[in-house]
Amino acid sequence: MVLLTLLAVVAIAIVRQRSLVGVVILAGIYSFLMASIFLVLDAVDVALTEASVGAGISIVLLLATLHLTKTVENPPIQRNLIPLSLSLIVGAALIWGTLALPPFGTADAPIHQHVVPRYLTQTIKETNVPNAVTSVLADYRGFDTLGEATVIFTAGIGVMLLLRGRRRRPERAGEKKTGKRI
């Protein structure tokens, strides 16, 4: 509960912050809070991922991006009533959707009935790997993880092409910008 309250506070602070460096740092705090929540929920693998990816590498890459662009957000030109109402409606619909979910952690929830018992009881016998998360990720659902690796590969290649290509013009623009600042 304390963690969720802190999460809400950080989210509001992110919305109100105009300096993008501040936003990135607050996003790092948000990720660490999320990692703590995952830890409380006994999802250590997810917590480790959130701490290393969400709070670690993505913050570094976002700061590196800010190094290339402006670091202050432009003030909004008009009042954003339509996006606000849209997000409120979607949020309300999601909360309404959670009302029909089975209570958290119940053993007879549908998600724990289908294939989960087999994964949990057979993982050592079938794969010699005691951590069911690893065996599900890499073996039972290996196709998904292959897709994930391909996504990272594609995204990395795409960003590298964007940053490498058309070097002439953007560099000149960058020179102009630094000249103005000085």
Binding site: I57, T145, L163
Partner: protein, 138 residues
């Protein structure tokens, strides 16, 4: 510009431990939390810390850009190649039980190979992205 002495010594002290932790997360992922994805990010973190403290040149002496960029497709190929081995030996794609005489042992080996592939791709991608940003920002 030479960085501060505390930064230099502190970075040198902490780097091997970060790398060791990455390897621990990688190879202990079968028994505890962790796996190729997290380990790759942590391993990329060592190169990023090296770049921040000692500059791009000394980091690229340790992890040259050509190597890092080749790691990006190499990991995916290791992953897919492990799957294709199953296909060639008469089972389904990504069925690792053919990798050894014992089905369970084969699947353990397959998980290991696949996680190594993920580690290589993730570490390579993150480091290459960071290099690209740093080089663009000069």
């Amino acid at each position: 510009m030479r960085p501060d002495v505390i930064l230099r010594v502190g970075t040198k002290l902490i780097l091997p431990f970060i790398l060791l932790f990455a390897l621990y997360v990688q190879f202990h992922g079968d028994f505890g939390p962790g796996g190729g994805f997290q380990a790759g990010v942590i391993a990329a973190g060592t190169v990023i810390l090296l770049t921040i403290t000692f500059g791009l040149e000394s980091a690229q002496r340790v992890a040259p850009r050509a190597l890092v960029e080749r790691m990006v497709p190499l990991g995916v190929l290791i992953y897919a190649g492990t799957g294709v081995v199953g296909l060639l030996l008469g089972k389904n794609f990504l069925d690792y039980s053919v990798l050894s005489h014992d089905a369970a042992h084969g699947r353990e080996l397959g998980i290991f190979l696949v996680e190594v592939g993920v580690l290589i791709t993730v570490a390579g991608t993150m480091t290459a992205l960071f290099y690209a940003f740093v080089e663009r920002g000069r």
